[in-house]
Point group: C2
Chain length 174, copies 2
């Protein structure tokens, strides 16, 4: 069985949408998702960059993210045909560790805790496919690299791109 | 730089000693460490095996473990000469995730969160050396495997053995 490594934030989970919601609640401005296209993660909001970063240390920030469209259906199929691991850079945010585990158990109950990895840097994992929204995570990977489209990565062209979970399914479940 | 992967429970941390302490507090019997030699993890206490397993779900079980002798000094040196990762099978015990992170930050402050990995199964990581007390973690590893002696693994002979941190230092810091 080939090993497939899948990221959480902005791949399974709508992290960008969560930042937009928190920003609106805090500063009264709803920043359109499209306005973030081609912008680095740290520059996608008009202002208050430190506050935006600090959202990630708030209780429930990671626990209450929405699930990205079609990720559950496609992941269920993938899990039957690949050795799937969820690998998330969670270590920077201590709160996120139990929250991400609870989130996975709620939204992806067909996955086992043996399939979860919370790390600092992803160069430690190896496999056949990696789906990630951050180019630096793909760069050190030994297998086939798939860049999951997100507003902050549209300017990168060095990796094969997948735009959403239906495209992932079409590519990996032929 | 060669990559060195180091386990936590019964390698950096005295997990066996913590079980002994909890067992004594709960059942009034102090089980000698030597009586556990050559016994499987689930058979090392005379009785109450389910209760022993459930200690791992108690708050502070992982947070308050003792540090194994010489691990701090030797790890500090190793960290200067290897790309060190701490890889712990923590995912089975949700409480352990923040507790293990706090424990590492307290006792190994010279390590960075980028060097920590909490996983379910260790076949996902790769490197040049792995130090672990559990044969099944070493079995799937691609690099050199070092079995860190613990009462429950003395019956295994298929791996190179290290008995304590001074021996690790002698082997890897020549």
């Amino acid at each position: 069985m080939e090993r497939l490594i899948v990221d959480m934030d902005d791949v399974l989970a709508d992290a960008t949408g969560q930042f937009i919601n928190y920003y609106e609640r805090e500063f009264g401005i709803r920043v359109p998702r499209e306005s973030m296209n081609h912008k680095d993660e740290m520059e996608r909001f008009p202002d208050n960059h430190d506050a935006v970063y600090n959202f990630t240390f708030r209780k429930d920030f990671f626990r209450t993210m929405d699930v990205n469209p079609y990720s559950q259906e496609v992941m269920k199929e993938l899990n039957a045909h690949y050795e799937v691991f969820i690998v998330s850079s969670a270590m920077e945010f201590p709160n996120s560790l139990p929250e991400k585990l609870e989130w996975l158990n709620e939204h992806f109950p067909f996955l086992h805790w043996k399939q979860f990895v919370f790390c600092g840097r992803k160069n430690i994992v190896h496999g056949d496919y990696m789906i990630d929204d951050l180019p630096h995570n793909l760069e050190t990977f030994n297998g086939e690299k798939l860049l999951f489209s997100a507003p902050h990565n549209l300017q990168f062209n060095q990796f094969k791109r997948v735009s959403g979970w239906r495209e992932v399914g079409e590519l990996l479940l032929k």
